[in-house]
């Protein structure tokens, strides 16, 4: 067994130091070392997207990143989406639209959807489907997920407009 490396990263807004074996994936480090078990393992080959996290704002499969590569990075997992216990618009829309059944794909889908809306606040249905195509869901047929993301985008836009008007 090779020696462990000390890694310093920002995870969900907090500076975190952890020890990590060179062969451990970021997903394994998050789940088994740091106990952030919200990110899920569905395949370990980057095909299902259940482990999706944001690394410096970009959605990546954490099973394809090594834990040591988190050094100096800013990482957001599903545990970091709510603010002080208040759910984000996307989280609420997933609940309102019944956009989850078993919920195993939900953490990854939420992160991919956030990544989309962060860069494209007004996506078309096709753009939503394209952005989420790396996240497999076997329960829902995606219908309600796509609707939830489109509705969240509209909501975030109207909140933004209301804020702008208030200024």
């Amino acid at each position: 067994m090779s020696k462990k490396t000390l890694v310093e990263a920002t995870i969900n807004g907090e500076t975190v130091e952890f020890l990590c074996e060179p062969r451990q994936s970021l997903l394994e480090a998050l789940r088994d070392v740091l106990e952030f078990t919200g990110s899920k393992e569905g395949c370990l080959t980057g095909d299902c997207g259940a482990c999706t996290v944001l690394v410096d704002g970009r959605a990546v499969c954490s099973c394809l990143v090594l834990g040591v590569e988190a050094q100096g990075r800013n990482i957001v997992t599903v545990e970091g989406l709510a603010t002080n216990g208040v759910l984000s618009v996307l989280q609420n829309k997933f609940l309102e639209h019944a956009a989850l059944q078993c919920g195993i794909c939900t953490p990854g889908l939420l992160i991919s959807a956030k990544s989309l809306l962060d860069r494209n606040p007004k996506p078309t249905e096709h753009e939503v489907r394209y952005a989420l195509a790396g996240n497999l869901c076997r329960c829902t047929g995606y219908d309600k997920i796509v609707k939830a993301v489109l509705d969240a985008a509209a909501d975030i836009r109207s909140q933004g407009e209301a804020k702008a008007a208030a200024r």
């Binding site: 067994m1 074996e21 062969r23 789940r31 088994d32 106990e35 952030f36 078990t37 919200g38 990110s39 899920k40 393992e41 569905g42 395949c43 370990l44 080959t45 095909d47 299902c48 259940a50 997992t77 599903v78 545990e79 989406l81 709510a82 759910l87 989280q91 997933f94 609940l95 309102e96 639209h97 019944a98 989850l100 059944q101 078993c102 919920g103 195993i104 794909c105 939900t106 953490p107 939420l110 939503v128 489907r129 394209y130 989420l132 195509a133 790396g134 996240n135 497999l136 869901c137 076997r138 329960c139 829902t140 047929g141 995606y142 219908d143 309600k144 997920i145 796509v146 609707k147």
Partner: protein, 762 residues
């Protein structure tokens, strides 16, 4: 149990509240099986066979045991002998000996991925390294991969003890032959003006749940074991593990974790007994989690197989005869759902003369398991395609053809007894009247197809208890793992009966020690049967509330009424009392109130669905894009319509994957060549359109709320509906599923060649 209650004025049932487990699932807090961790926990990995069919000559584990960090290794020598007999276990009939042989291969490996040994080590990586140090000597045998090969005289025999009901003491790969018949088939075909005869084949496919199988086993020195795992049936995990481990059921407790999809595939055991065995050897908790490749190679997909089907109709569109031969790949051990497929294949139609012969055949593939309406999607692909063809011959709209021949209340079922109230015709009419079916489909290489499906649905055993808390809110406890939102439905039924808001009811899925026996969450049975138990348990709580109010008011119970969540004294001017007002008086009127019910649910109401799809075919590549899709399904009564739609949409999406992409590819050595999600391709977001739904509510007279159960039948129509749509788009009748690009392109080119050939001949 008056079905009229379903037309009653509901306050909670039929609304769309937010699911009680929702917040945990959007914040990452929900605890799935692989999320469990315990102090001192070890990690297990399983050594699996690289051969499809081989004799195990020896297994040497000493090198692996010497690797630092390795704590224990188990092989089949560590398993007690299990009896070769048939036992009822929940929905399934199981043979403990075959079950044991599937958990760890005894003297033979029977498929690529068959478990041989399991290692426990201080990290999953060390356990994996140890697998490479285990030496197994094999004598490789010829693999038997298809029903054709397996049924041929002189085929290599998989199981030396296997005998069937027809061939006496002759070793065989045919585990069982089922036959169902009615009327006079020859006379039926004589009366037919049109007869279509075709041979169909389908590929083995997987349920494709995103969460791999997992288990944490803890064996204590007092002989008590606890298993944490993601399962559709904690009580089944307990009874099946007890068989394999030779332990009494009462010494095993199973705690069902949140489950990341099952669709029938998590109704049996794989890792659970291994986790207990390894824990027993090491004294530590042991966790095992499958990789995706292991899930595909070695869990329980649903069979492919062959169906030969001949059907006849009169000129005016009446089905008069059917003759069907079908054989399914059971996998390495007997038990494919071929009998269910046979009973469903023409179930939506009244056919006076039929004979169905169905064969359960063992092959060198993983032991198949249930998958949503087990055995029926394959069957409907054949029958619903031929029915489409007959409708075309008769010049009748395919939906009208189905309505004309469709079963209704009083029609005989395949086994004889008449159907009670059912909603098949209504699903056809709902599609006929849908905006989708009424719209015009235009454009080149586009086509529209319809198909219908039937599934029995199931009843079986469920237990529930309803606790009234000291503040007048409630919890409802059941033994049904929640695979699709059932906790929402259970809370809603409780809230409806108790006249309280759904947010005042907390639903719990309990472990095997905390609630009465409850069969597996499968067979579309949870909202039906567990819902029945919950309804009765809530009514039991109401009876007790009435008694307590009577005590407070110094009246007789029959002088108190419960309505709209309030207790009313009959007759005089006593002001009504709410449950919240009564709850603080529980201690002085007899103690806490718990309503209880256990049912072996009768009155199962079968499910029907009809689906229409529009497709566009790329004639140069054979790729099919689904443009639009609508499904109508009879729910009986939709408790939470959003999650009923979710079942309809999810099953439809799986059916479309089955139709177009999904397939196990084995090479000639019997090695699975696509054991990952990249090559075993399930539909992505980009592959599907919105899936429109029409919920039909034809109340089930056998359920107090009219519920039928909705989990399965939605997967049945899509494969045939897509095939029928492809025919209308490009003129080819597909008889092999999946209708993947290479397969469809070949058919298109052949069709084009034939057309050119006949044009040249003219």
């Amino acid at each position: 149990m008056a079905a009229s209650t379903t037309t009653g004025d509901f306050k909670v049932i039929g609304t769309r509240p937010i699911r009680p487990d929702g917040v945990d699932k959007v914040t990452g807090r929900a605890k799935f099986g692989a999320d469990y961790a315990f102090p001192g926990m070890l990690h297990g990995k399983v050594l699996r066979s690289p051969h499809a069919h081989a004799i195990i000559k020896s297994i040497k584990i000493d090198k692996a045991l010497k690797l630092p960090g390795v704590k224990a290794i188990v092989t089949s020598k560590d398993l007690p002998d299990a009896e070769n007999k048939l036992e009822q276990a929940g929905e399934m009939t199981i043979n403990p000996m075959y079950l044991s042989m599937n958990i760890l291969a005894h003297d033979k490996v029977l498929y690529d991925g068959h478990a041989i040994a399991a290692v426990a080590a201080t990290s999953p990586h060390i356990a994996e390294e140890a697998l490479r140090l285990i030496e197994v000597e094999y004598e490789v045998l010829p693999p038997v991969m298809t029903v054709d090969v397996a049924m041929k005289p002189g085929a290599a025999i998989l199981l030396k003890d296997l005998r069937n009901n027809e061939e006496g003491d002759k070793p065989t790969n045919v585990a069982q032959h089922f036959q169902f018949k009615r009327g006079d088939v020859a006379a039926g075909f004589k009366a037919a003006d049109y007869v279509i005869e075709r041979e169909f084949s389908t590929a083995m496919v997987h349920q494709g749940y995103i969460e791999p199988h997992n288990a944490v086993g803890i064996y204590n020195s007092d002989g008590q074991a606890t298993i944490y795992c993601s399962t559709q049936g904690a009580f089944d995990v307990r009874s099946l593990s007890a068989y394999v481990l030779g332990m009494p059921v009462g010494k095993i407790k199973v705690v069902p974790a949140e489950i990341g999809g099952g669709f029938g595939g998590k109704t049996t055991i794989y890792l659970e007994p291994l986790s207990v065995l390894l824990s027993k050897k090491t004294g530590a908790p042991v966790k095992l989690v499958m990789s995706r490749s292991e899930v595909l190679r070695a869990s329980g997909p649903t069979p492919g197989g062959k169906i030969k089907l001949k059907m006849g109709a009169t000129r005016d569109g009446k089905l008069v005869a059917a003759e069907i031969w079908m054989a399914y790949e059971a996998g390495a051990f007997p038990g494919s759902p071929v009998a269910a497929g046979a009973l469903c294949i023409i179930a939506p139609y009244l056919v006076e003369n039929f004979q169905i012969d169905a064969y359960d055949v063992v092959v060198n593939r993983p032991k198949t398991n249930a998958y949503r309406a087990p055995g029926t999607t394959q069957a409907a692909f054949a029958s619903e395609t031929v029915i489409d063809e007959l409708a075309e011959k008769c010049g009748i709209d395919p939906i009208d053809f189905r309505i004309n021949n469709g079963v209704k209340e009083g029609s005989p079922q395949i086994m004889g007894p008449p159907f009670k109230r059912i909603g098949f015709i209504q699903t056809c009419e709902a599609i006929k009247n849908s905006p989708h079916y009424k719209s015009k489909l235009t454009g080149k290489f586009r086509g529209r197809g319809v198909a219908s499906g039937f599934w029995f649905n199931a009843g079986m055993q469920s237990s529930a208890s309803v606790n009234i808390h000291t503040d007048g809110t409630a919890s409802v406890v059941t033994g049904s793992p929640d695979i699709g939102g059932s906790r929402a439905s259970m809370a809603m039924i409780t809230a409806e009966v108790l006249g309280m808001p759904m947010t005042d009811v907390r639903p719990i899925t309990a472990d095997t020690d905390s609630i009465g026996h409850t069969d597996v969450s499968a067979g579309s049975r949870v909202t039906f049967a567990t819902g029945m138990a919950v309804y009765e348990a809530a009514r039991d709580a109401v009876r007790q509330l009435i008694e307590r109010a009577a005590k407070v008011w110094e009246k007789k119970p029959d002088e108190v009424e419960f309505r709209d969540g309030m207790l009313h004294a009959k007759g005089n001017g006593v002001p009504p009392m709410s449950i919240k007002q009564l709850a603080p008086r529980f201690p002085r009127t007899g103690g806490p109130i718990t309503g209880r019910a256990s049912v072996n649910a009768r009155g199962v109401g079968p499910g029907f669905a009809t689906t229409v799809v529009d497709v566009e075919v790329d004639p140069d590549t054979g790729k099919v894009q689904v443009l639009r899709c609508t499904i109508a399904q009879d729910a009986g009564k939709a408790i939470h319509p959003s999650y009923v739609e979710g079942q309809m949409q999810g099953g439809t999406a799986q059916g479309i994957g089955w139709a177009l992409n999904e397939e196990y590819f084995y090479d000639d050595k019997g090695t699975l060549r696509n054991s990952g999600f990249l090559d075993y391709r399930i539909p992505t977001c980009l592959d599907l359109p919105m899936i429109e739904t029409v919920i039909v509510e034809e109340a089930n007279p056998g359920h107090p709320l009219g519920v039928r159960g909705v989990g399965e039948v939605s997967i049945v129509p899509p494969v045939a509906a897509v095939a029928n749509a492809i025919y209308r788009a490009v003129g080819v009748r597909m008889t092999q599923a999946p209708m993947s690009p290479p397969r469809l392109l070949k058919a298109i080119l052949k069709h084009r060649g034939a057309a050119q050939h006949s044009a040249a001949a003219d």
